[in-house]
Amino acid sequence: MKNRFAHFWRSVKLPLLAFTLAILSGGLLIAFSDPKVIALWKSPGKLLSEGFLVAIKAYEALFQGSIFDMNLTHKRFINGFYPLSETFTVAAPLILTALSVTLAFRAGLFNIGAQGQFIFGAIGASYVGFHFSLPPVIHILAAIAFALVLSGLWGGLVGLLKARTGAHEVIVTIMLNYVASYFLLWLLSTTTFLRKGRQDPIAPEVQENAQLPRLAGDSFRVNFAIIIALLVAWGIAVLLKRTTWGFQFRAVGANTLAAKTAGMSVPFVMTSVMVICGALAGLGGAVQILGSEHALTAGAAGSFGFDAITVALLGRAQPVGTVLAAILFAALRAGGLTMQANTTTPIDIVLVIQALVVLFIAAPTLVRAVFRLKNVKTTSDMTAKGWNG
């Protein structure tokens, strides 16, 4: 038991330290970009104390916006947890999209295309959601199924091209993301998708039967999506650890040549991995539409596909790690909005923190030097491969 704990501690130590370091650096940026603080440059003592206050205030607002807000409790105490509900609302699609990136990493592929796959999932779910009238439950299942088919095909295309022609998945997915965004823009200008009487790109709202039920009453947005996300995460963990298929994915990821020699069909594995990855990100898009947005817009995908990559990297390409990292980043997102509204700190500090966390994790030497540590487990999931690899 003690051994397992020590093992666990060793694997989370580096991400935790990297996160702390990133939060500290973000604090410095918040403090020293504030005009009130800069104005005090003549007296260093005041400068530091004012800077400290500004940063603490910003992070306090971040906490209020992501976990618990005392100001909301005057009617009902439970309302104070509204921010937490927001965090889990954002976390659901993020977990699913990040699992797509995680799974691809395990098979030795870098799926930058989660954004495009997310878009196709959102398109599929939205179309079935507003265009058909079906009984409760069945409507949701049909919408999700169509989303999975579209996004699975979109993702599978990448795997197929890689397996058949050797085209690098990073190049193909970067390009396909743009194709998907423009396709969405065009779609929202067609008569099928454009909501009647609207000029701006927005589709009709999905019907009530297709909306995912809310979990904690109508005043909280948190919905069934988070349960789907956690179940799928568990499923991916089982797939990777306990099934032949998952073993093949990992084998191809670890050493393509050895996997081939062992008799596995590398083209089949690559294509099927990318179909599943596409479907995972697409499921993220589907629950975003069916769970919280209810209508497809040009910006429906936000930056989920890109946040997913930093999440997967922070989660060290492990399903459990990915879930935890997604909840953490979702909290930053949700809190960032409150921070931007209540203090003068823009939400974009969240992007800076995300990027710094991943950079620090990627360079353990740096973190070790800062905290004067000796044995931190170093990563092996970020070793480099070339364009031709």
Binding site: I112, H168, V179, S189, I309, P346, A362, A363
Partner: protein, 418 residues
């Protein structure tokens, strides 16, 4: 008859050109019902001899240019049989096909031809700088998908510094330094810590987008007058050259950034293929072990080249602010860094190829802009997709597979060399 890979590629190119020409003949000519005239305007008021307008019937135009493309394909085929290069034929054929397309798409409308090309060149400027940064990095074996970040950071730096000093020169001088700073992060983490360069580039982009958005909202919007109202570079007309009809105003009545671009492209092309530095750079990108065995210090040359790439990308970044609109805008590079990456790949990792691809992408972008105002048979979103789809086709090898430098993206150390 056994064909070499180059001959195979050429044959595939010739055949695809012939097929495209036929498709254009049928699609734009035969199936075209519209015969309204299309007008090309050539005048920009600065030339010696103004060629004014050229109006032709839309369907005959499409027929004519498609037929010309078909004849050129035939010519290219004979060149191929005689085992000669088909560059000239490809360029002419591509031009004819574009003209056929324009005759079809702009039926009943006017196309400002000189303006179209001038706009295309301007839209290509950041793409060309970005792809040159890519050439410098990737030819020496370091993947650079942080071009977007380099452009954005330097656009920001140039805009802010020019605004604070009210002087474009300072902005132009600081921009390359900002680009080089991003390169420094890329080089340090990629070469010193051997981190996956694709992941690294991605994270750098996120970092730069986050930083610039943050500072934009925190400082540039509230204190716009001091922080974000920079002056703009003025175009310099080159005597005589700027008076050449059609070409003069396009190429020789531009800002210093564009003239720097001509110089840098030529310098990179020449040095990469004709100097000792170029030979070494290509060696460490293709086979670092061999390069090391003859005494080339692989990692320090890589480091140096990545930094130079940052300087080059930085000038391209300055174009967005001091070169064009003055003020910095949130995420104003809008994915141009990724189109630059596409141009680099589409141009087969060669400087001139990348420039051609960048010009083509810039042209497509501008044509799309003009046609979306006048209205077209194709939705503008599909024209915007064109560069990305072209790049996917290029990497999948349907028309002739492109290959990256062999050691691109693989960190080098003596212990793990193979």
């Amino acid at each position: 008859m056994n064909l070499t890979p180059i001959q195979l590629r050429r044959r595939r190119g010739v055949f695809s050109m012939a097929i495209l020409s036929l498709a254009s003949l049928i699609g734009f000519g035969f199936l075209q019902k519209n015969t309204a005239p299309v007008t090309f305007r050539f005048v920009l008021e600065k030339e010696w001899v103004a060629i004014h307008e050229w109006t032709l019937d839309s369907r005959s135009g499409s027929y004519g240019f498609s037929a010309a493309a078909l004849l050129i394909s035939l010519w290219a085929f004979f060149q191929f049989r005689r085992d000669k290069k088909v560059h000239v034929q490809s360029a002419l054929g591509g031009f004819s096909l574009l003209m056929a397309f324009m005759c079809w798409a702009a039926s009943g409308k006017m196309i400002p031809f000189t303006g179209l090309l001038q706009g295309a060149l301007l839209l290509s400027v950041p793409l060309i700088f970005g792809s040159m940064a890519g050439v410098l990095c990737e030819r020496s074996g370091v993947i650079n998908i942080a071009i977007e970040g380099q452009l954005l950071a330097s656009a920001f730096a140039a805009g802010v510094v020019a605004s604070l000093t009210k002087n474009t020169t300072w902005g132009l001088l600081v921009a390359p330094l900002a680009g080089a700073l991003i390169s420094l992060i890329l080089a340090t983490f990629a070469i010193k810590f051997s981190i996956d360069q694709v992941i690294l580039g991605f994270v750098i982009n996120v970092l730069v987008i986050g930083m610039t958005n943050f500072l934009y909202k925190k400082l540039l919007i509230p204190y716009q007058n001091t922080w974000n109202s920079g002056p703009i570079l003025k175009p310099i007309e080159i005597p005589l050259l700027s008076k050449i009809p059609v070409l003069g105003p396009i190429f020789f009545s531009q800002t210093i950034i564009v003239y720097l671009m001509y110089a840098i492209v030529l310098a990179i092309h020449f040095s990469l293929f004709k100097t000792k530095w170029g030979l070494r750079t290509r060696a460490i990108g293709e086979h670092p072990t061999a390069a090391d065995s003859v005494g080339i210090s692989v990692n320090s040359l890589r480091f140096k080249n990545v930094i130079i790439a940052g300087l080059v990308a930085g000038i391209g970044g300055a174009y967005f602010t001091v070169g064009a609109v003055g003020a910095f805008g949130k995420e104003m590079t809008a994915g141009k860094g990724f189109i630059a990456l596409a141009a680099l790949i589409f141009g087969r990792w060669s400087p001139l190829g990348a420039v051609m691809a960048a010009l083509l992408f810039g042209f497509a972008d501008n044509l799309q802009g003009i046609l979306s105002i006048t209205g077209t048979p194709i939705p503008s979103e599909f024209m915007l997709m064109a560069p990305y789809i072209a790049t996917i086709i290029a990497v999948t090898g349907f028309v002739g597979r492109v290959r990256a430098p062999a050691a691109d993206g693989i960190p080098y150390s003596r212990e793990s060399s193979h």
